[in-house]
């Protein structure tokens, strides 16, 4: 304090008088204790006035504060025996309960038994934009996968995310929502167990891109669909907060268990292979029609060492994939589209065949295959003895016919003199329909009444399936199994096998590989047994 600010003698005397006056109304002990505890002051102004004038109360307050400051430290549970420690204990117990509850909820999930992994990852662009097949536009933005509630601690991000075999699930309606699709995709093809993949896809985004929000749900049951969708909605809202507008809307409810898995045999029989029911794989069955072996009974997978019956083309191969076709082949070989792929991406694909070596005249045909009866389709899809409602998986998508094609040829071309020939559908193929491409030597023989259809089946993929295929192509490295699943479901067997290279080795990968190879082999004619004579028909003269 400056010397000029020091109180003079008269002022000190006044201070003493003020102190003596204030001492008559000193504060009680509980008031001093309350002041020392820094609790809210009652009658703060009056008490402060008194404390300013009363040195005794100030000293008592100062001593109390000094006593509390001098109180040694120690564990908090030794600090006090009063309500403060009780409150601290209650708060600690509450915090522990909350943490335990959160841990249990994160580990178990809302239903109390399962774990759920939530992720948000970009999808391809709009289906309309993808219809043209422009792959460069399909390239999705950088993945934004993240783990959300119920995620397993330390678990890897969900990789098996991909749109395929869509099946709608329950989506809780939300005000302002526009649209959403929830898709269920089975994850374990060899053993259709309870593991499934649910994918939510919103198509309205601020940046024009399409993102998906996926849930990997072990043991998903119909009763849990609503809860899962609520989780998904929360995930979408979290994505919205991060700048991505994911909107969910109403949808139809169905259990994931109703989604048919592309289980064993589904790829070959279910996706259009023309094997007769019960025929063992690996047997190429030749059929003679009218004494002239010009019909192929089926396109079956060869089994190493297995018998292969004679085909009408002298033991040659119709398809080029995996075959030894070339200019020296005795019969025309399909060059494009890749016969290893069942699904067709192009609307008007050009079917090219290699020049045959034999002098016969061949007729190329592309026929629309009518859909078989649902029971037959369902029967052909099953592989584990349990019938699966295929309509839930692929609605309005006719699969291969059970009988011979009856429709008129879409396009016919007669080929002769060994030139490279191609046919092109006169009109775009109808998405979702199966088509049969066959090469027949002329003159055509009368078909055997009960003979199975011959030729190679293709399927014109729908716009949605094309989108899925393009998505799978773009995500083959990041989500190999999901991409394989998508490609396999779309009948793109060669691409599926190629995408499987990115998957980590394991039983599931091996099972996938075996299945894809079986499907591939079923689309390849068996090599003729060594020594079998090639039956070359005489070249007709024209």
């Amino acid at each position: 304090m400056d010397r000029r600010d020091e109180p003079m003698a008269a002022e000190r005397r006044w201070g003493e008088a003020l102190a003596a006056r204030a001492a008559e109304t000193c504060l009680e002990a509980d008031e001093l204790i309350a002041l020392a505890s820094s609790r809210p002051w009652r009658r703060r102004a009056a008490r402060l006035d008194h404390l300013s004038a009363c040195p005794r109360c100030r000293a008592a307050l100062r001593d109390l504060r000094a006593l509390d400051r001098a109180r040694p430290g120690g564990p908090w549970w030794r600090a006090s025996a009063g309500p403060a420690r009780g409150l601290a204990l209650a708060a600690a117990a509450t915090a522990c309960a909350v943490v335990l509850g959160a841990v249990i909820a994160f580990r178990v999930g809302p239903s109390g038994a399962e774990r759920v992994q939530v992720a948000v990852a970009p999808l391809a662009e709009r289906a309309e934009a993808l219809a043209g097949g422009d792959r460069s536009r399909v390239a999705p933005p950088a993945p934004r996968a993240r783990e959300e509630a119920y995620g397993e601690a330390g678990a890897a991000r969900p990789r098996d995310i991909g749109p395929a075999n869509a099946k709608r699930l329950a989506v809780p309606s939300r005000p302002g929502a526009t649209r959403a699709r929830i898709r269920g995709v089975p994850l374990a093809p060899p053993s259709p167990g309870p593991r499934s993949l649910a994918i939510a896809e919103g198509l309205d985004f601020r940046d024009g891109a399409v993102y998906e929000a996926g849930l990997r749900v072990p043991g998903l049951t119909p009763g849990r669909a609503g809860q899962l969708m609520a989780d998904l909605a929360g995930d979408a809202r979290a994505a919205e907060r991060e700048g991505q507008a994911v909107r969910l809307g109403a949808g139809a409810a169905a259990p994931l268990g109703a989604v048919a898995a592309p289980t064993a045999g589904a790829g070959a029989a279910g996706f259009g292979a023309l094997a007769p029911a019960g025929a063992p794989p690996g047997r190429a069955i030749g059929r003679a029609a009218g004494g002239h072996e010009n019909e192929r009974g089926r396109i079956a997978a060869p089994v190493p060492g297995g018998p292969a019956e004679e085909d009408d083309f002298g033991g040659g191969k119709l398809a080029g994939a995996g075959g030894s076709g070339g200019p020296s082949a005795p019969r025309p070989l399909l060059v494009a589209p890749d016969p290893a792929n069942y699904g067709l991406l192009e609307e008007r694909p050009v079917f090219r065949v290699s020049p045959p070596a034999d002098p016969r005249l061949y007729r190329l045909e592309l026929l629309a295959e009518p859909a078989g009866p649902p029971a037959a389709r369902e029967q052909r899809r099953q592989d584990d003895g349990a019938a699966r409602p295929l309509d839930a998986l692929r609605k309005a998508v006719p699969v291969g016919p059970a009988g011979a094609p009856t429709s008129a040829p879409v396009s016919v071309l007669e080929l002769r003199d060994g030139g490279v020939a191609a046919i092109r559908p006169v009109a775009p193929l109808k998405p979702g329909l199966d088509y049969l491409f066959r090469v027949q030597p002329t003159p055509l023989a009368a078909p055997e009444p009960n003979a199975p259809p011959s030729g190679l089946s293709f399927r014109a993929l729908t716009v949605e399936e094309r989108e899925q295929v393009l998505w799978a192509r773009a995500h083959a490295a990041r989500a190999p199994l999901a991409s394989v699943l998508v490609l396999y479901g779309a009948g793109r067997y060669a691409e599926a096998l190629d995408a499987l290279r990115h998957a980590q080795p394991g039983k599931r990968t091996d099972a996938w590989r075996a299945r894809i190879r079986a499907s591939l082999s079923e689309r390849t004619l068996a090599e003729p047994p060594p020594g079998a004579p090639a039956q070359a028909a005489p070249r007709p003269s024209r």
Binding site: R12, D49, R62, L67, S80
Partner: protein, 258 residues
Amino acid sequence: METAPAAANTQQTDRAAGELLGRQREWLARFFARRVSRREDAEDLVQDVLVRASASMAAWRGDCPFSQWVLVIARRALCNYYERDPYRRGRLVPLSPREEAATLDPQREGTGAGPSLQAESRAVAERLAAHMERVCTTDERRVIALTYQGESLDEAAQFLGKSPSTVRSLYRRSRQKLLAHVVLHDPDLLGGRAAIDEAWARAAASEEAGERPTSQERSAWEDPRARLEAFRSACLKMARYLPLAAVVLRAALEHGGG
């Protein structure tokens, strides 16, 4: 005949003392419960404090609330408890000498002045409080009270929760206002008009230039209403030369005569 009334008085005194002590038990229990770890220790301390207060109740002079007096005993008991606690032993932060003295002397603030001086101080305080109420704001009154009682400006600032610069400006302004008001309206508080004039003369004759009144202050001293600010500054310089004896004597005479 006198035994029975004496016994009755003793019983009444004991009953009153018991009631007085009983009223302290509640806040003592809260006080110790917040400061010791074991509830049993808190109860023991309460009982110990009450026994000590009962035994030394005669030492209570009545110049402070009884609970405040008991609080001093409780504080001392708590210090002893801390020193006895094996866990806390060696962890105690020693009290400052001032705090130690305050702990050991619960009634140290008693002035010990006689009744006449107490009455005189009370009268001076009443008149001074009236003047402060008239010319000072609430914060200025608090600052004046604190600094006049020897608190430094920093302590006053800490106590009032204000910045030191704010407290300093409050103190300087309120001090000048109060002095000028007392000089004008109640010169007896400063020893009377004669003592004030003598102090002014001594200030005017001061050899230190900083303490000598300026020309404006001299003119303001002649006409305080016209130059109030300068008059306040002049009063501050005059007050430095007021004799303390004159102040005290004048106040005593005023009280005795009044």
